[in-house]
Symmetry: C2
Subunit: 295 residues, 2 copies
């Protein structure tokens, strides 16, 4: 496995692979890898013959009050996991090389960035779109995989690729959950033993929404009220948002359509957790979009 | 010569060229080609073995009050010129394919876009950075050539490339002038016979600045006052800006340093003309940066 730390070296490596006719797959991560990330890589491998993974905690996607400094890191453990998965190259750039003196370019996917997490995290998706563009230009992939747990991020990146005419196929990977239902996230490591129990409220809300839809409830407000009550019945919880929206535009809806995204962000203690599901009408069996991981 | 009208076809063509080991050169234009443009292509040919030229009047770099609708076009004449130059491919996309329904991504080179023309043309450089990024991702060049007549545009694009880690070499080409000194521009075609005479005030201002520097004047305000007088002594003229600034950051300076950009925008009748020169101290012979053309 090649561990590559400079931008130039990574670009040269990818050029060589492309010239040799390889199909490059790419999974960007912020490290502290869990099963959700590894699933992204497993899926990527089905679409490429050369897999590049990046580990980079991207400072510009964190707000000033957010957890950049405390974001969990485990480079040694990450590299072990990637070796076992036979990843071909790991790109681990330094912040000072990604954002050198004079850096001043911002990439904004305007409308999609304003909904959901964009409201409580201004600038977050600009940071994501900017770093993803850079990482794509450095690793030069044919295909890249992102987790559906960050559903809004996935849609922002799909739009980014279309709008910039980047010749890259984007694949969304289902959410991966712990046995008790909690969506996998590097930030779960922040949770105390008691908070970890409260964190189950997100998946339970999702299950409840599916159940209510099955029973014929299509009024989003009614479902939302029930979810609020459920979440707030747990200690340490604070709701950031619970939103029903169009899966493509992320614009809010009042009534469940054929396909509606239910997305939520909940603080459990100081930890902000997100989860989501696609609610599908006219389907007898509501398959949850399982899976997790990614940036 | 391949005339390519769809994005997919252009990307496939460039992929094929790259896989065959060709070095792709690229010159983006808005058409109505003049000698300045042809000079960009001649220079590009020195750095590549496959030359792609685009012709696209980019709507998003025009302000609502600007000349998008009247911008001069001559597709037939342009293609004739490009054929004679043995250009390998001409990319002529349609607006509806470049900016389809749902398009919403903006690329901003923040600081550099705010100076000079950025003040009187808000959004212009965002439009330029966005379309250039798209055109680069479509034509996939190794090297691209831009005219120094649009000095700010050239610096914005240099920064864009660095900040986005695009693996493309940018070459700046000297301004090309008419025999009487007027910098070549597609917009010169707007000028009436009388306005055409007044338009000489830009090059005359540049010559005067070089002469004053040679005589030891390094106070920008003193030079600016003389230039203003000169320009306003011609009929139909109206000054948009006359600025002395750092060639890299485009930040204004008061005293001429080793290397200072003198840039100006002047309205002659309804036509907005720009011109610039680099003033170099400690050089006995002040070589003007000749040349023109490009977007």
């Amino acid at each position: 496995m090649n561990v590559i730390k400079t931008i130039r070296e990574m670009q040269n490596w990818s050029d060589k692979m492309r010239m040799a006719g390889h199909i490059i797959g790419f999974v960007p991560t912020m490290g502290f890898l869990h099963k959700g990330h590894l699933e992204l890589m497993r899926i990527a491998k089905q679409h490429c013959d050369t897999l590049v993974v990046s580990i980079f905690v991207n400072p510009i996607q964190f707000g000033p009050e957010e957890d950049l400094k405390t974001y969990p890191r485990d480079t040694h453990g990450d590299l072990e996991k990637l070796r076992k998965l036979h990843v071909d190259a790991v790109f681990m750039p330094q912040s000072k090389d990604m954002y050198p003196h004079g850096f001043q370019t911002e990439i904004q996917v305007k409308s999609l960035s304003q909904h959901l997490c964009g409201r409580s995290r201004p600038g977050h998706f600009t940071g994501v779109a900017t770093v993803v563009t850079k990482l794509f230009n450095i690793t030069k992939p044919h295909v890249a995989v992102f987790g559906q747990k960050d559903f809004q991020q996935l849609q922002v990146i799909r739009r980014l690729i279309i709008d910039q005419n980047m010749d890259i196929k984007i694949i969304g990977a289902p959410i991966v959950r712990e046995p008790d239902g909690l969506a996998m996230s590097s930030r779960n490591s922040y949770l105390s033993h008691e908070e970890r129990k409260s964190a189950l409220c997100l998946k339970q809300s999702i299950d409840m929404a599916h159940k209510m839809l099955k029973e014929g409830v299509i009024d989003c407000k009614a479902i939302k009220t029930k979810i609020k009550d459920l979440i707030l019945s747990y200690p340490f919880t604070q709701i950031d948002y619970i939103t029903f929206c169009n899966t493509n535009t992320l614009e809010e809806v009042d009534i469940l359509k054929d396909e509606t995204l239910l997305a939520m962000a909940v603080r459990v203690g100081k930890t902000r957790l997100i989860d989501n599901t696609v609610l599908r009408k006219n389907m007898t069996d509501q398959a949850d979009n399982q899976g997790s991981g990614g940036l």
